[in-house]
């Protein structure tokens, strides 16, 4: 399925954008909302994201990663640009980071993903926050270390651990859940 979308995307076929929207808009919107923190501006950024994807479709290279990773990078950069031009300052952003990351409003929950959300809830909060900062918000590992006061080496270790844990969570393997519990104790 990915292959045919990629070809459509590279040929500027509008159907590609419709398919990508159906598949990824909610995930991208979730990320954008976390960075931009304004619903109205987030809608604009989501629109910009798909317009950019449409215009630059030919530049997508499947060898460098999945479509979603590519789209997320576009969304994240657009969102960061938008917050900057809206003159959000850095301190305001860090402050609201805590308040936003862990308190998703009930109206925001996508029913399809409630099960997944519960699963991800099993991911230790310190790991979830790390992934949010780096993967969603584009913080460098150095910036995370600075913002959280956690040593850089620990940030790197935890990030790898967090990704491995996610892989186990999404592997549909009940034994994996046990393993996560055991490993989380050690780091």
């Amino acid at each position: 399925m990915q292959d045919s979308i990629i070809i459509q995307l590279q040929q500027q076929d509008q159907r590609a954008i419709a398919t990508l929207y159906d598949q990824y808009s909610a995930a991208l919107f979730g990320v954008i909302m976390r960075i931009v923190q304004s619903r109205e501006l987030s809608e604009q950024v989501l629109q910009d994201t798909f317009t950019k994807a449409w215009r630059n479709g030919a530049s997508y290279n499947p060898e460098k990663g999945r479509l979603f990773t590519w789209l997320l990078n576009i969304a994240r950069n657009s969102a960061i640009d938008a917050t900057r031009s809206a003159q959000f300052n850095h301190s305001k952003k860090s402050d609201s980071l805590d308040s936003l990351v862990h308190t998703p409003g009930s109206e925001q929950i996508n029913p399809e993903h409630v099960g997944l959300r519960e699963l991800v809830g099993k991911l230790d909060e310190k790991y979830a926050r790390l992934i949010e900062m780096v993967y969603f918000q584009g913080y460098t590992q150095e910036e995370v270390a600075e913002a959280t006061g956690i040593p850089l080496g620990t940030v790197k270790t935890r990030l790898r651990f967090a990704i491995n844990e996610l892989r186990l969570i999404f592997s549909d393997n009940p034994a994996a859940m046990l393993l996560i519990g055991m490993m989380a104790e050690r780091i």
Binding site: G30, L46, D81, Y135, T140, L159
Partner: protein, 249 residues
């Protein structure tokens, strides 16, 4: 680096998270090329993060899908708008660069620098594409001018099956061969191009015929009255033609 060391280094995760320096990125890309099984591993990392994003999804408002698709359809249907968008993007690109520079001065932040670097790279790529296209355009214009010049002599040459033309112009000092209608050399053989010059008994070598492209220019030779193509056993050609495969009709 062997695969185990590479996996343990965490570079692949950093690559997916867009956290690599340029040097690290090229290390990862080299490793991915050498070891296809790493691609599978990368895909799994990406998939886990993708599912994490899906688990945190927020559905956008219902009308947005149609609005985006409508805008894209407009973008596609108006060709002139595309040009305008292009110009606008170029200006915008410049403006964004300037804004990013200001942001750095103001914030002194590493993040601003990274964005500037990305923006800069993108602009460089765009400039390179423009230059390549300009070169192609100049070559085409050159070819077009030679073809429509009344002073250009068209000398048809033919072999067993194919016929092509040499374009010869004294005033412009140009010799060009249409490769699109040339036969292919036998495997292990090479085509050499010759000029038959007035008052000379032996043909003069013009050089080897290119194996790709559809148009080849050669160094000008005075008083040519005909041209020929021979098939040669070596890639460097011969002093005298071995087997003539195309000659003036």
């Amino acid at each position: 680096m062997d695969v185990q060391t590479f996996l343990a280094s965490g570079l692949l995760e950093a690559y997916v998270l867009n956290q690599c320096s340029a040097e690290e990125r090229s290390t990862v890309e080299t490793m991915l090329q050498k070891h296809p099984q790493l691609r599978e591993e990368m895909n799994r990392i990406e998939l886990a993060l993708e599912q994490f994003a899906q688990a945190n999804a927020v559905p956008p408002p219902a009308g947005l899908r149609d609005k985006i698709l409508r805008d894209i359809a407009n973008d596609a249907s108006t060709g002139s708008q595309k040009v305008n968008n292009f110009t606008r993007n170029m200006i915008l690109g410049g403006a964004i660069s300037a804004a990013v520079v200001l942001a750095i001065l103001w914030q002194g932040s590493q993040r601003g620098y990274r964005l500037l670097e990305q923006e800069n790279k993108r602009m460089q790529q765009e400039m390179q594409d423009c230059q390549t296209r300009q070169k192609q355009l100049i070559a085409m214009e050159d070819q077009f001018n030679l073809l429509r010049d009344p002073g250009t002599k068209v000398i048809n040459i033919a072999g067993k099956e194919k016929q092509t033309a040499v374009y010869y112009n004294n005033a412009r000092q140009s010799v060009a061969l249409d490769l699109s209608r040339m036969p292919k050399a036998e495997p292990g053989k090479y085509l050499q191009f010759w000029a038959i010059v007035e008052g000379e008994t032996a043909p003069k070598s013009m050089g080897m015929v290119a194996t790709d492209g559809d148009w080849q220019k050669f160094a000008y030779v005075e008083n040519a009255i005909g041209f020929a193509v021979s098939e040669e056993p070596t890639p460097d050609g011969s002093a005298v033609p071995t087997t003539v495969v195309m000659a003036p009709i």
